[in-house]
Amino acid sequence: MYLALIELDRDTSPKGLSMQKLFRRVLVLGLISSLALSIPLTTSAGASSKKPADKKTATKKPAAKKPAAKKAAPTVLRMLRMGDWSNAFGPSRNSSGTDHIINFMIFDNLVKIAPDEKTILPALATKWTVSKDAKKITFELRKGVKFHDGSTFDATDVAETIGFNCRINAWNYIGYRPQLWEAVVGCADLKDKKEGVPSGVKVNDPYNIEINIASADAQWLRGLTDAVYSIIPSEVHKGQEFKTWKDSDFVLAEPIGTGPYTVKKFKRYQYLELAANPNYYGGKPKIDTVFMLLAVPETNVLPLLQKGEVDIAIDVNPTLEDQVDKLADYKSVWNNTTGARYFQFRNDHPTFGDKRVRQAVLFAFDYRSYLKNVLKNRGGIRWMFPAFDQNRIPLEKYEYNPDKAKALLKASGVDLNKEYKINVLAGDSGDATMSVAMKQALEAVGMKVKLNVLEVAAWAAETRIAKADKDTWALTFNSGGSLGLGTARGFSVFDCKTPLFSYYSKCDIPELYAKLRVETDPDEIVKIENDLMKVLNDEVPFYTPWLRQTYNVVSKRVGGNFELYPNDRDSSMGIAGWTIAPKK
């Protein structure tokens, strides 16, 4: 009982042994035991040993710096591109920009595009002639080209590639679908067959092939530069079911193409190591090894740059510019993109059907201030779809003019105390900002607006509703990656019959696009484009206010004919000519 009364505090510091000695002895004990543990472990090979020791003492220096330079140090380029990645190779596994870049290092198409994204350059095909009615294209193929596995490239590979793509049903393509191969005559009747080449493909001789397409398409050839249309060796997939082929080594580990680089090592979600292909027809690439860093989270980009562990970083966060300016051996490269983020109206909406309302919305928004403050002037103001020459004919610029917006609204007699719905795709920070800014702008001119935030699936479904009523969404935001590649590219955006992922109730625009795609005479093309511009600008189903520039960081050691294409995913077409100076 006595203990309870008298607060007997702990007899804590034993006089005999000073605290420091005890603590030091314990620490030494801890270190020795972890040291003893780590020695046997470092000898055990393999990354997944169960119980490695780990010693966290500041004094431990990292292993010696780079090993002594060998004779002629191999040139190494390390690259990364933001954005996800499909973890596999080959045309059918092509779903993002990064897939594109990797694809062009390994494979070749019949033709490729110049940095101006307009002139078509020879690749596996040296010459090509397009028939008068733009329905038949014959290619002269390059001789003496070898695949990475040593087999020679000739017309049968091209024919078999087209045949193989026709046989796989479109379902197996994640992302981009080979619509141009599907346009070849006889491709449709090969569906789900074991083998065969479409009737529209004629192999005149081992290096001359003729391709007939069902309906005329002036842009068909330009489209062939897309990564989905790379040529793969025929032996690889001859008579193979796609189900088994898609898990084959070709797709998952060792793709075989004619490109400048071959896959040396592939560590899923970490990095891809590519070695130069010595007998590349365009001459041995100047850089021996290319590393492609994969799945790099945004937080790691700057540390990698600061530690000099990456040479080219494509499409990274523009706000990095201030930090990159502090890095001596890197430079910022801004690149006009071909992508566009656009406002998309539902013009069969009872109220928004009236174009004056749509025009009022455009006048209500202050584009210059968004460009100046948020995009930091990195980009341009656009009042017409990218790829069109917007200064060729007088067009309405819809500069910020709230009074005009109010006037138009009054003129159109729109019911101002009804609430209109703006659909917002959840998870996209860009959309989230735009929708709030648009809501504020419209409320400033008197319109009542409700933001309807939807998950991907729900948003896509609502965009594709066939018939709009007074409760359907009136305005949403959308973006397209390759709209700037060609004026005809917009055809997939407009559809007056079955809504693809956008809807334009009147059918005048789709007709003009259809004419544009077929027309081969340049003057005629300009005339159609001007008509299109007038309709698009006045009717305003879509409006692309900004041309956004992407931000890239490139080491000053990179040289040769290195150049970022406007559509940065095409840039690796010229990778064979890139050079990199060794580290100082």
Partner: protein
């Protein structure tokens, strides 16, 4: 007069903990010769256990200190001794056993481990010899099948056996003085008697002197030669047990005796508990600490603190009006 084994003079111990300042022992003095046994009796809070712990420096360093007095063991001053020196004495020449055997034995170590540990601390025996010694000690204190018990854990033994193990541990290096701090309070009455008997036999066999700390006068009666009654931190009456119990001089001792039921008294007799409450150790009164509860307290008692006076050879009382009442003559027999 041979030199006393242990001479405690004017020992003062003070605590300052978060709850305030407490002076637990206020000038305690007593001595005990080789082979003798003495009981320290007092209510809870009278400072008897604290004084025992103070002897061998077991009080918490941070919150307590011996402010005055000296403790001489075979003439050697213990107060202020270095930890190393004290450690040789603790468990070597002075051993201690505690009140609750279960909470004084480490629950996660076997009895054997805890005994061999002490043996090897004081004599350099190897493991095997120490274990043999432990078994012998367990036999000595009368624990059946010692070989099995030595491997067992405290919770596997009964209360009595655990206390025996405690005693075995204390005796492991033949101490000349054993401090027993309420060794039987936590045990049943029947086992209490066995333990006391064991202690008495061991004391005779090993010629060891014993200080028995208890609040139970019944235990003290037929057991120790001398007796010291403590109240509020110091000794109020000392002498041979028989004499003190036969005619207690100090009113507190009388009060204690009167509040115990007696077989030899008529059942009708009422018990007279001592009025009032145990003193608040954080307040040091001017006069005699027992004054507020003492029937024959005078102004002098309240004004001045009585010192320990020798009333008869070997009998000391700290009271201004010692009661030489002989009315309480019936001596208490075991």
């Amino acid at each position: 007069m041979t030199q006393p084994l242990l001479q405690v003079s004017n020992l003062r111990v003070e605590f300052n903990s978060s709850q305030g300042h407490v002076s637990a022992v206020r000038g305690l003095s007593y001595s005990i010769n080789e082979g003798d046994s003495m009981a320290l009796v007092g209510e809870s809070g009278s400072g008897k256990s604290v004084s025992a712990l103070a002897l061998i420096g077991l009080l918490p360093k941070k919150t307590s200190k011996i402010t005055a007095g000296s403790v001489k063991f075979r003439g050697k001053e213990l107060v202020g001794l270095s930890e190393k020196e004290l450690r040789k004495i603790r468990g070597g020449s002075i051993a201690m056993i505690f009140q609750d055997p279960l909470s004084s034995l480490n629950p996660v170590l076997t009895i054997g481990q805890q005994i061999t540990e002490q043996v090897r601390a004081h004599e350099n025996l190897d493991k095997k010899q120490a274990l043999k010694r432990a078994v012998e000690l367990l036999d000595l204190v009368g624990i059946p099948s010692a070989k099995v018990r030595v491997e067992q854990y405290p919770h596997q033994l009964s209360g009595g056996m655990r206390q025996r193990a405690m005693i075995a541990m204390a005796l492991s290096s033949k101490p000349s003085l054993l401090l027993a701090d309420e060794p039987t309070t936590a045990l049943d009455v029947t086992i209490q008697a066995q333990i006391l008997e064991l202690l008495a036999n061991l004391q005779k066999e090993l010629g060891m002197s014993l200080i028995l700390i208890t609040h139970d006068l019944g235990v003290v009666a037929g057991f120790t030669e001398n007796l010291t009654v403590m109240y509020a931190g110091n000794a109020v009456e000392q002498g041979r047990t028989g004499e003190v119990l036969a005619n207690p001089q100090h009113p507190y001792t009388t009060g204690l005796l009167r509040s115990i039921p007696r077989l030899d008294r008529p059942r009708a007799d009422e018990l007279h508990p001592i009025p009032g409450v145990a003193p608040d150790m954080s307040i040091i009164p001017a006069g005699c600490p027992f004054a507020p509860r003492c029937e024959s307290a005078s102004d002098k008692c309240r004004a001045e603190k009585p010192a320990l006076e020798t009333v008869l050879p070997g009998r000391h009382v700290a009271c201004w009006h010692p009661e030489s009442t002989s009315s309480m003559n019936a001596s208490v027999t075991r």
